[in-house]
């Protein structure tokens, strides 16, 4: 299969509660994610990003339509664990996804659930911690670590299950700048090693590192393209309440002030080059 995740005409409805009416978090959504790619999903709160993330590993099932992960239909109960093993997930809150009071035990949680043989679990845990640079903290208590370190442990926990794809649901939203950099570095590294990375975020600098950006709005795909294609559409970004990259915003302002610049500037370097061409 070339696509690791395929969603076809997916609609998801949250039922009415006594304070809210029922509403469609996702509306007839069709989306494919290619194996080995790095896709960023951006959108305002309420756009359906988080719902989409949970449909990938069958934490939620579509009301209408189908979701295939690694060839399995997420509705197929017999393959539920295959789906969840294929698509790992890292959540937003670093604390609330750590099960154990010892780092290496937490990383082992996933493989233990899969019934992996003890010596193999040990190997995977060591490798996973090595991959995220946290080997030295093997026997530490997670709650004493920084947010960024905790998220790295969570990522190790996902890696230890040997997934083909990992969904990162706003993994840096609660971290400081240092923590954010740590996590993004690991995501890029995992992508290089061939793991499909689906990153849900509203930080533009993070989405810019992906191969492809999908913008969700009101449960539908609003735009789908490369970072360059997406970021140059300043009007759309502003209409959706999203941040516009600095270089793009400045280019527009300079253009309004009569300064001619080449079209399609997205990165700071390109802007600098355009303003002060190197001899």
């Amino acid at each position: 299969m070339d696509d690791i995740v395929r969603m076809e005409h997916v609609t998801f409805t949250y039922p009415a509660t006594d304070v809210k009416e029922s509403f469609n978090a996702l509306n007839d959504l069709t989306l494919s994610i290619e194996k080995g790619s790095f896709v960023a999903i951006i959108g305002q709160n309420g756009s359906g990003k988080s719902t989409m993330a949970k449909l990938v590993n069958a934490l939620l099932l579509p009301g209408e339509g189908t979701v295939w992960v690694n060839g399995y239909d997420t509705r197929d109960e017999a393959h539920l664990w295959d789906v969840r093993q294929s698509a790992g997930m890292v959540f937003q809150n670093p604390d609330n996804q750590i099960v154990s009071s010892i780092v290496e035990d937490d990383v082992a949680f996933g493989p233990e659930n899969l019934g992996v043989e003890p010596a193999e679990i040990r190997r995977r845990v060591d490798e996973a911690l090595e991959a995220v640079g946290m080997s030295a903290f093997k026997r530490n208590a997670p709650h004493l670590l920084s947010g960024g370190q905790k998220q790295r442990i969570a990522i190790a926990g996902a890696i230890a299950m040997r997934p083909q794809c990992i969904v990162f649901d706003e993994p840096t939203a609660m971290l400081d700048p240092r923590g954010r950099k740590e996590v993004m570095r690991i995501i890029r590294q995992l992508h290089e090693e061939g793991i499909t990375c689906i990153l849900i975020t509203h930080f533009m600098e993070e989405a810019a590192q992906a191969d492809r950006i999908v913008i969700l709005n009101d449960g539908r795909i609003y735009m789908d393209g490369t970072p360059r294609e997406i970021f140059t559409d300043r009007d759309s970004l502003m209409a959706l309440g999203l941040n516009v990259p600095m270089a793009v915003d400045l280019s527009y302002h300079l253009h309004d002030l009569g300064i001619q610049l080449p079209a399609g500037i997205v990165e700071e370097e390109e802007l600098i080059e355009a303003l002060c061409p190197s001899k």
């Binding site: 609660m174 240092r178 600095m246 400045l250 002030l257 600098i272």
Partner: protein, 297 residues
């Protein structure tokens, strides 16, 4: 009514093996009406400092004077302190507790011992200040709202105390871009509406600090590393990077343009300002890096 912090030192776990110095000989002054931004990496002592300013912690050494009152004195009335100072912690929505929005927002004013009429007035006012419709939501449970709305309700709870000094610890943490901008605008509105009020904003977002703050305090390992205007502080980019902090995106751009011979002022911290500055430079021809750039007041 200014704030004067004099040589405060705070040591956690004094005498125990885990003893650590959270604050070391910290001194600075905040003037009437000032908007102070505090930056520093995690563990630099920012949170500890904020708690001292609100009287939640007492320093082992040093004093803090708010107006003429030494809030670090042994017998000081904390309620008097709370009348002047409001502190919004990170993720304030986690502290909502009462049955209705109105009751929760009224918690602070009630603790201050105000009359019911005054309390109702303040609740109404502060909810509208955070952009919520008092009549629509006053009887609803605070837990029936989205994360962003809950945060606003929690903030209204502090604003209802009409503090002369409003301290906010990362008020935009975890918010999407739109909500992020709304919160900052709200803070600015409060600042303008309360004459001579002081705002102290702790944030990791250098762009926000540069845009909103009059002065910036840089904390590093429990000590004050720098204290000056955004222009002064962010010009010291090498030092900031050394202690693990970034500079605002526009300051970074200005630095890079400088090395390419394009002189822009060091205090253009919003996109329109920077665009104007660049346009001015380009129209005036390339300037010799040795000459003064067209820096406007």
């Amino acid at each position: 009514m200014s704030i004067e912090v004099r040589n405060i030192t705070h040591i956690y776990n004094k005498g125990l093996p885990q003893e650590s110095v959270a604050l070391k000989d910290v001194s600075f002054t905040v003037e009437d009406g000032e908007f102070l931004g505090i930056i520093g990496h995690t563990g630099s002592g920012k949170s500890t400092l904020l708690q001292h300013l609100d009287g939640l912690l007492k320093p082992d050494e040093g004093q803090i004077l708010i107006g003429d009152v030494d809030i670090t004195a042994p017998k000081v009335s904390l309620l008097a302190v709370r009348r002047q100072i409001g502190l919004v912690f990170q993720y304030p929505e986690y502290q909502l507790f009462d049955e209705t929005v109105a009751a929760d927002v009224a918690f602070g004013p009630r603790n201050l011992g105000l009359e019911q009429e005054e309390i109702d007035e303040r609740v109404r006012e502060s909810l509208s200040m955070v952009g919520l419709d008092y009549d629509k939501i006053k009887d609803k449970s605070p837990f029936d709202f989205s994360g962003g709305q809950k945060r606003r309700i929690a903030m209204a709870g502090v604003l209802a105390m009409r503090p002369r000094v409003l301290i906010l610890d990362e008020p935009t943490a975890g918010l999407d871009p739109r909500a992020h901008r709304d919160v900052l605008n709200m803070i600015r509105t409060y600042h303008k509406s309360q004459a001579d009020s002081i705002i102290i904003l702790v944030s990791h977002n250098m762009n926000d600090i540069a845009e909103y703050a009059d002065k910036v305090l840089v904390m590093d390992k429990g000590q004050v590393r720098m204290h000056g205007t955004p222009k002064e502080v962010f010009a010291r980019s090498a030092e900031l990077r050394e202690i693990g902090l970034d500079i605002p995106d526009l300051a970074d751009l200005a630095e890079k343009l400088e090395t390419r011979g394009l002189h822009v002022p060091k205090d253009a911290f919003t996109i329109p300002e920077m665009a104007q500055a660049i346009a001015r430079q380009l129209r005036g021809g390339k300037t010799d890096p040795a000459a003064e750039g067209g820096e406007d007041a």
